[in-house]
């Protein structure tokens, strides 16, 4: 017996677009007719690669196409890819929520999937009753839950409220209780879909710790889907990259992440003029291009790397006192950095119908994560231009091998280099 615990062979999943009605009925009848004659499903031959941005000509898309991979016992895999790349579809197939259109998935032992925490929670039931219900939905036996219930309640930290209906819970308590049940699942394979993106920072850390423990100490096999690359980087050793329904890479996590960020950062030259504008602006002024580059000559961006921002703009009128600015905000929209050209350069005099390019070098003292770049320009008379979320950058953590999470600051947004000294030695 080999060490392989999950084997996915030639798996594809087709979805039909549009509404269900008489149109889909005619397709169904067609399908039925060809099956009666012993022929192949005519709609399996068609279907397009899943690219949301382009209008397709077919009613069918392949959310996943020809996926093959094997996972060994005890491995922790991160599944990464853009929105719509097929990550969730893959997890749905693995967790048996829906079946593949073609292909086979084989696995050994018990598998539990958490596509969401607290599935089946009923508002009218008490916390304790919900723990039993949710645990049973996830495949636990009643006896098993009874033996773990104290641990679960303790982990969630809701002891005082455990016999109150969960509809009276705060959303934080609700989620903590739900996750606590999931964290105490005893399975060989665990499938997680971004469920860690819940709760406050300290609870998230608790969850990550629990996951890490499940993987490294209990030898569980984990598949983890997340958009949060630094989480994936910290938790997983292996990674697979999905792009438009195809599996483009499966191997070690750092290669997977760098391939992903490369594909994400290929547009490091952004055609800003194509982005639709909202809000007040001067119609004679336009920022046309933004180019971002890592001055360390790396294609990826790491914490504290010095990044070059090159902004091109033009105006149809003369402006005497133009200021160019960019800001960097996190996924919640909090602005972390606001950078203006007047900081070490005088106001720019802009002549009509001429292209200008301005560059700025900036080391990014912010923690790894996904960030948005926003652009703007102003003059004495007011705002000339403001373009939010021009592009995204993925900032990676430098030391992925460092597992001493305790010794690194885990909350906060900025990176500092404080100097500590013990005084009463």
């Amino acid at each position: 017996m080999s060490n392989t615990i999950i084997k996915v062979e030639n798996v594809s999943k087709q979805y039909r677009l549009g509404e269900i009605g008489t149109g889909s009925l005619s397709h169904d009848l067609n399908r039925w007719w060809s099956r009666l004659r012993g022929k192949e499903d005519p709609y399996l031959k068609i279907g397009e690669t899943n690219d949301r941005t382009q209008k397709g000509s077919s009613d069918y898309v392949w959310a996943l196409r020809d996926i093959n991979f094997e996972i060994n016992r005890g491995e922790v895999w991160g599944v990464i890819g853009k929105n719509g790349a097929g990550k969730s579809t893959l997890l749905k197939l693995l967790s048996k929520v829906t079946s593949p259109t073609i292909g086979e998935i084989k696995y050994k032992g018990k598998m539990a999937s958490l596509l969401e925490v607290g599935t089946g929670f009923h508002g009218e039931l008490t916390g304790r009753e919900n723990v039993y219900l949710n645990g049973a939905i996830l495949g636990m036996k009643k006896k098993e839950i009874s033996s773990k219930i104290d641990e679960i309640i303790d982990f969630a930290g809701v002891e005082k409220y455990i016999d109150t209906p969960v509809k009276r819970y705060s959303s934080g308590m609700y989620v903590r209780l739900a996750f606590a049940v999931a964290a105490h699942l005893d399975t060989d394979i665990l499938i997680l879909d971004e469920v860690l993106a819940v709760g406050d920072a300290s609870f998230q850390r608790k969850c990550l710790g629990k996951m890490n423990d499940a993987a490294s100490n209990q030898g569980k096999t984990v598949l983890f889907v997340s958009h949060n690359l630094s989480q994936v980087q910290g938790l997983c050793k292996k990674g697979m990259l999905l792009e438009n329904g195809h599996l483009t890479f499966a191997g070690d996590i750092s290669t997977a992440i760098s391939k992903y960020t490369l594909s994400g950062n290929t547009n490091n030259l952004v055609n800003v003029s194509a982005i639709p504008r909202v809000g007040p602006r001067a119609d004679y002024f336009q920022i046309t291009k933004l180019q971002i580059k890592n001055l360390n000559n790396s294609e990826e961006y790491f914490e504290e790397d010095t990044i070059e921002f090159v902004i091109t703009f033009e105006s149809k009128r003369q402006i005497e006192d133009c200021v160019i600015a960019f800001s960097i905000s996190d996924s919640l929209g909090n602005t972390l950095i606001d950078c203006r050209s007047t900081e070490n350069y005088p106001k720019i005099e802009v002549l009509p119908n001429k292209q200008y390019t301005i560059r700025c070098e900036l080391p990014l003292p912010i923690k790894s994560g996904s960030y948005q770049i926003n652009l703007g320009a102003a003059s004495f008379y007011g705002i000339l231009e403001y373009v939010p979320s021009v592009t995204n950058i993925e900032l990676l953590s430098k030391d992925s091998e460092d597992n001493n999470a305790l010794y690194k600051p885990s909350v906060g947004m900025t990176i500092m280099h404080p100097k500590w000294q013990l005084i009463n030695n």
């Binding site: 929520v97 593949p100 086979e104 050994k108 599935t119 039931l125 009753e129 009643k142």
Partner: protein, 284 residues
């Protein structure tokens, strides 16, 4: 090549096998959890609580007595109170099983889309939780029966066929479950049938001897239609069992026919349900 023994295989086509029954058995704790949830949440935040289980059939019975007995003058072989109570309890059980199981996929699409457990658990839990409701409503009938026998000294003689009650319950549950599973499977993609079911069940009640005795239609052309309905036998046998051998129609062939129809519907239901559960989340 090494040979691996995979404990689970997920394929595109479903195969109906004993393993799906074994799986349901494995999840039996979940089944009871759902049953408990259905019962407990039913009367949370009500003052009267489980008393509501009694109030509904009593009011329905009073209504029937007024409309069908007093106004429409439909004669009943025993006191109309007993006659309607037995009919209401049995009919309610069947119709609730059918109504609720026939929307299993639609009602639980959200939870089914997030986690896997044998889908059969949910319709089964409906059948079991309604069984409790049936027991409560039927006990009401028993109390009324005791009143008529001991206080009113009515000439009622429960018969040996009382031993058939488990079979009758099986027929009611099986019919509701089987039909419900077929309907929910057929309505995941095209919901047209849902409309038919909603009033179809109401109409079906009039094709079942709930408010009139079967003897009322005996000899007429209607009789064979009404006898084709497997619930007819259930109603009549209940009355024969509890009220006396002369208070209804009893026939072993009718019983056998109802059992066969039930088994057939269950088999077809399991098959279609099993086939649908694999991909219904894509179309529901």
């Amino acid at each position: 090549m090494q040979q691996d023994n995979w404990s689970n295989v997920i394929k595109s086509k479903s195969t109906f096998s004993l393993s799906s029954i074994k799986e349901v058995w494995h999840y039996r704790d979940l089944l009871w959890m759902f049953v408990k949830r259905d019962i407990v949440t039913n009367y949370k935040q009500t003052v009267l609580g489980p008393l509501w289980f009694f109030i509904q059939p009593i009011l329905t019975m009073l209504m029937y007595v007024v409309i069908f007995n007093r106004v429409a003058n439909i004669e009943t072989p025993v006191s109309p109170v007993l006659f309607y109570l037995s009919g209401i309890a049995a009919w309610n059980y069947f119709s609730e099983c059918l109504n609720k199981t026939s929307s299993t996929f639609k009602d639980n699409a959200y939870i089914f889309g997030k986690v896997y457990f044998p889908r059969l658990i949910l319709p089964l839990s409906i059948v079991f939780s309604n069984l409790l409701k049936f027991a409560i409503q039927f006990s009401l009938f028993i109390v009324a029966l005791a009143y008529f026998v001991f206080i009113e000294k009515a000439p009622l003689q429960p018969s040996i066929y009382i031993l058939l009650v488990p079979v009758l319950i099986f027929i009611m549950a099986g019919l509701g479950l089987g039909l419900g599973m077929i309907i929910t499977s057929l309505t995941t993609k095209y919901r047209d049938l849902t409309f038919l079911v909603q009033f179809g069940v109401q109409l079906l009640m009039y094709a079942t001897p709930v408010i009139y005795p079967l003897s009322k239609v005996s000899g007429s052309r209607l009789e064979s239609f009404i006898l084709a309905n497997p619930m007819t036998t259930v109603m009549e046998t209940f009355r024969v069992a509890f009220l006396g051998i002369d208070k209804g129609v009893f026939n072993w062939m009718h019983i056998l026919y109802s059992i066969l129809i039930t088994l057939l519907l269950l088999l077809v239901g399991f098959y279609i349900f099993n086939k649908t559960e694999k991909t219904f989340t894509d179309t529901v």
